[in-house]
Subunit: 433 residues, 4 copies
């Protein structure tokens, strides 16, 4: 977790001290459930709760000897509250604490992420409405294709974010499972009812059939959904980078007062936020792979997943949140340049309307291939020799023969091309996260 | 798609000829919808449907000239049915056909996969019931931990398969979207109602806001869910490989009559099916990465996703189906060796019951650390000097002081350890896919 | 291996029949070496060599019973040549044949790939010289930065290809290791001298310490180097896609006569070859991951690597060769548009020369920050209000004060900017693969 | 970089303060070279060197305004040394500093890693000699195969580490390239001789043809070689985990005094170091993917690689070093249990020697298939009915007919099986890193 790419709240969530707090919370929840079942003396929790000052450094010191983090933690607690502490962790195994805490942390992280994802989705929908009539040239293969509106682009981002938020919510459900079931997950020295009560208190459900740990397909699903969403945000970023290119320059990400684009070139205004997002997407994507490898643990568990998760859980969640926040600012603060949008629309002298012309000819009974060749030849001539495409169409014998002036005018009318864009925006914005 | 790892039905699904059939189906669905809206002459579909003999080789020949697969296809159709063919593809773009067909193929592939996943899940649940009382030693870190039952293992696999099936179903919904919306997805020369009618006929829904293509987060989700499920099946395979080890030998995958384990060593019976599954999991896992990279296409689309999908879609789906089939056979046909299960349970002379002893001492009021050290010292002595662990416990001064003979006996009773296993199996099997 | 993306020679190399040929070759080499050591009767090889007609279908039939490919192969050979066949495979294990053959195949595949890589490198160097004086605007962050030459771009590609070719050659050495050392690699029923002689004949070296197999770090290295090179070729493709954009249009990949850019839009000429390369790069990249996972086999080997390699070895090598061939054609056949290069250079009205102006001012003793702000304010005004940048510079009080007319002219002279480009090209082209 | 998995020296290397130190070093090297060429006033470096107290916090403060890290750094320097600072960075671009510094850091990181890799290799070779005659059963597919020696295993690890070290050295060469060539890499406001002199001072070479940055295939190669080596170390870890299994228990990783294996089960001694290494391998492996994606930057560069590298460079290098250190301790401190090695060797009652018997029969002129079936039937009977394999062999009619007592005894002699192991160890240890 680099400070540079991490919010304060995420930093705190994954902080070592916070982790120990979660551990204590889980131990106490289990202990409270045991009290209720008279498995530990009444009043045990009361003797511990609020009486422990968790000191991460001291716990790490103890761990150097025990080489076992949970035992170090328990020793630290026992050092402070004495005798009642021996009722903690009764019949539990470390993973009961670790996995249940981890579920709480991941849950909270996902909630933060979903919040940012919703904000980004809202910015997209807002921009979709704002620019529902902002005509721009659509591009396929990087080549100008046909006119569309910016609103449609934002609406498409919105709808995709809705899908991502739904996936994240499913992942959130999938991860909201804890486990207090002992060494091999079968309550050998525990009771399923204790688990149920303790997890209820914590807002989690019991893993239906655990091993020593909560099963790792759940975590793999979390990291996979983050990776997919990162791809969506990368798509926005890449699009904006394209828009911001000098030769296109239809939009640009926000640029702060005092910001310097380049240490060498004072004229530059670079889409660095979006480039940064692109890089973060690569990184977030990469965390899915080790999470997938973590699924096939040995027998009732091996601990190989642990080092992976210590690294990727804070990194993947904090980077995703950061990326979403950043994308939210970029999308909402986007500078859009209408003059350039108009200039680019006219760049090909109407070539981008050629499909409409083609279709009019076909409708008049000309074979598709023949029509295609006629329009393509005008297009090629306009491109290569610089002729006026609309004029060339008007003078092409085949086209002249089949299309009247009005028909051609309609085909060459941009507004006609984008007549369904508002419908698309309405349809996309009707999707709800 | 290697024949070796591919079912006949998958081979057929992804066959080139089949793909062209799907294309024709989509073209005709669009044309039929246009007929209904009087955008093309009544009777056009009737003049084409059933009259075209699609010849993949001829289409490939034409493609060599056009260097465009859909145009080659249309030319081939026009060569056969003549004039009415010019009403096909009217206002459409290639991706309208390609993406809609691809959705149909992926849908069918996922349905096949879900079928196999359900079969595998059923085998797991069957084995869970069959072996609900088959006691085995549970292992963590590869080290014997505490007793459990085989039924719990199978139940755990079952519950995880249920989760995977649900994820696949979500992915199936996500991918059941087509698109007939033209070059930049905004119906410039089309009508959303035509799209709706055509997709209805095909069992698909319209992408709410498309570009030239259906958005690739949908596909990334499909390949990610396959990767996760592959991890689950790998888990089964790795477990069985461990069980089959010479020194463990508690179970073995089915071994055919006439099968040879090794060209060099006649005594060998190797878990090659499970090792094969392990390798396939690695491969299926790897397909998620390029699918994730495919999300961020340029502007209204670039075609970089296409080569990726041509390769990974048939490969990932056929390998996953194959892996599931194979795993189904292995799980249902597993040879289980009760004698070895019993032998291994007793291998440590009771060491695996040490936690229960520890807990009894703690319950008697001894501090956890002290109790832990007492039991660990007996365990270490038994392990290193080969003493009888139960005897050592009985003679340990601290333990002697706090535990009566009966208490110790209960702690050392295996049946007591596994008393909750049937509850776990019932709970897991209550999950429904 | 899709026919679409596979050369005839690669198809043949990885063909099943070819594999059996390699197996026979290895068996005979081992047998010949044993003859020389009088471990098998003189004349055995002569009785087999040239007398076997390998029939892949028949071998597959036998494998259905044996479920072991090498045993099926040996049975097939024995069915044909009878008694002498029993001297084959003496003391060998299947992997002696499989891994040694696989080394021969990978070696040949890498040689084919290196050949194409060299051709691509040559095209780059040729273009570097051809366009050593073709001035173009350099771009960073997609934003126009400073002038450079196209020759420098090609030279940079060349130098990177040289590095890739060297890596491939190292990988080729690393993979040129076979193994004829028996079931656990220790010549229990063999002799290291037999291995040495047989591998010598085949052009391979013995794995210094094998298990049952040649160690998989070697293969991981091969697939990793392919992945890196794919990234380099992707870089070329992405650059060309950028150049070909409508608004930039400085170059375009070759476009065949009769080729159709779009089924809907007759005016389009899309960089589909380069987009295809981009997608292939994603795919080739993805094969490195399972190859890395293959390294940590269990004990003296498990067979999990096998299914991975059956899939990725033909796929990764054939796709890489295909990609290189395609890139070679694209780079050598690139259409370059000098008019557009010139137009784009002038697009900012000289803004791209601002760094030189900045530096001249600094040299005159002005603090860097102050100078930066002066130039940036002119740049901003030119950009936002459309003023003439050169004029604005001339009228800026600070600049006026410190720079004479001539100094300013020199700073604004493009040729001065690119004066070192030829040196770079010479230096890069001096690198030899 | 988690403290848990990071050495002090690595932490320092990647520390922010250290990075600024490297930046200053590079700026001064460039400035010194310019002094020599009289491009900046004599004595400039002397006025700066040793006079700057770099304060990371202050630089970050400035960056909040400039949103540009190098400009913030330069401002900070200028704030301290005043006027002479304006001669710094003259004609340079940020990446000249960043990439050159990054090369210095990566170089140093790789050197640290190579040192640990050499130590690990040495431990392997030491253990190979120590255990050159320690016979153990070799296992393929997890099934006992044939006897070998532990020395061969260690020798195999050694030879593989040698290959990895060589790859790392190649990567080290590949990364020892800097760049002081300006905004688009063509020395527009610089001089190649300045670059050469400055890089010479720093121990680097000039990128033959740079863009704004050093090309990223170099970095992809570094991260790929780390990933491969991680696979090798994972192999060691997985092997040791297998050896340590309760049922095998031939070796165990070192276990500290006071260490607790499990919070629940006092008898446990878990291979947690090796499991940890396994997880780290997954993580290190995953860093190769984004490094590969970083290669194809846009035009003369985009900055998407930057966020990736800020994260993966410290993480991948520190984790690799940590993993190597840990593996070194594990391999050198391995507890080996001769009694268990002997017990396991005899576990199958001689089944593991079956190949030798098979071969003796074949040598006597029996067809391979027939011989195979004879031995397999004895093996199956011994396994399934618990008979004595050696006795069964002696009584098998076919075997009896063809093999004398002595021949059978030789085939069943373990020492004969491992006679070539010392040769293998010598050969492997002759490889030099």
């Amino acid at each position: 977790m680099l400070d540079r790419y991490c919010s304060e709240e995420m930093k705190q969530l994954w902080d070592l001290g916070q982790k120990y707090q979660y551990w204590l919370k889980v131990e106490l929840a289990a202990c409270r459930a045991m009290e209720a079942k008279e498995m530990v003396p009444r009043g045990t929790v009361a003797k511990i709760e609020g009486k422990v000052e968790l000191d991460p450094q001291k716990i790490l010191e103890i761990e150097k000897v025990t080489r076992h983090d949970v035992i170090a933690f328990l020793t630290h607690v026992e050092n402070q509250v004495g005798e009642p502490a021996r009722w903690l962790h009764l019949g539990l195994t470390s993973s009961d604490i670790l996995d249940t805490s981890f579920a709480l942390q991941l849950k909270q992280a996902l909630e933060m992420i979903i919040t940012e994802a919703e904000i980004l989705a809202d910015h997209c929908s807002h921009q979709a409405l704002e620019h529902k009539d902002t005509i721009m040239i659509g591009r396929t293969h990087g080549i100008q294709a046909e006119p569309t509106t910016m609103g449609v682009v934002f609406a498409m981002w919105y709808a995709e974010m809705v899908r991502n938020i739904k996936r994240l919510r499913t992942a959130l459900c999938d991860i909201s499972f804890g486990k207090i079931a002992g060494a091999v997950g079968n309550y050998a020295n525990l009771d399923p009812e204790v688990e149920k009560a303790a997890l209820d208190e914590l807002g989690l459900k019991p893993e239906p059939a655990a091993t020593q740990v909560v099963q790792r397909d759940r975590h793999a699903f979390v990291f996979s959904t983050l990776a997919i969403m990162a791809g969506t945000v990368e798509k926005m970023a890449v699009t904006i980078r394209h828009w911001q290119r000098t030769e296109v320059h239809e939009a640009a990400e926000p640029f702060g007062k005092g910001q310097k684009g380049s240490s060498a070139m004072p004229h530059k205004r670079n889409p660095i936020l979006c480039e940064n997002i692109t890089g973060l997407a690569r990184t977030i994507r990469s965390y899915a792979a080790p999470a997938l490898e973590n699924i096939a643990l040995w027998h009732e568990r091996d601990i190989s997943h642990s080092s992976v998760e210590r690294i990727i859980a804070p990194d993947a969640t904090s980077l995703t949140q950061f990326m979403l926040k950043r994308a939210g600012r970029v999308v909402s603060g986007l500078d859009i340049f209408p003059k350039n949008l108009a200039r680019n629309l006219e760049l090909t002298g109407g070539l981008v309307l050629s499909e409409a012309v083609l279709l009019e000819i076909v409708k008049e009974g000309v074979g598709r291939q023949k029509a295609y060749e006629a329009v393509q030849s005008c297009a090629m001539e306009a491109t290569e020799k610089g002729g006026d495409f609309r004029e060339l169409l008007r003078n092409n014998p085949l086209i002249k023969k089949h299309l009247g002036e009005k028909q051609l005018d309609k085909a060459l009318n941009i507004n006609h091309h984008v007549r369904h864009c508002n419908f698309i925006i309405r349809r996309a914005l009707a999707e709800k996260y």
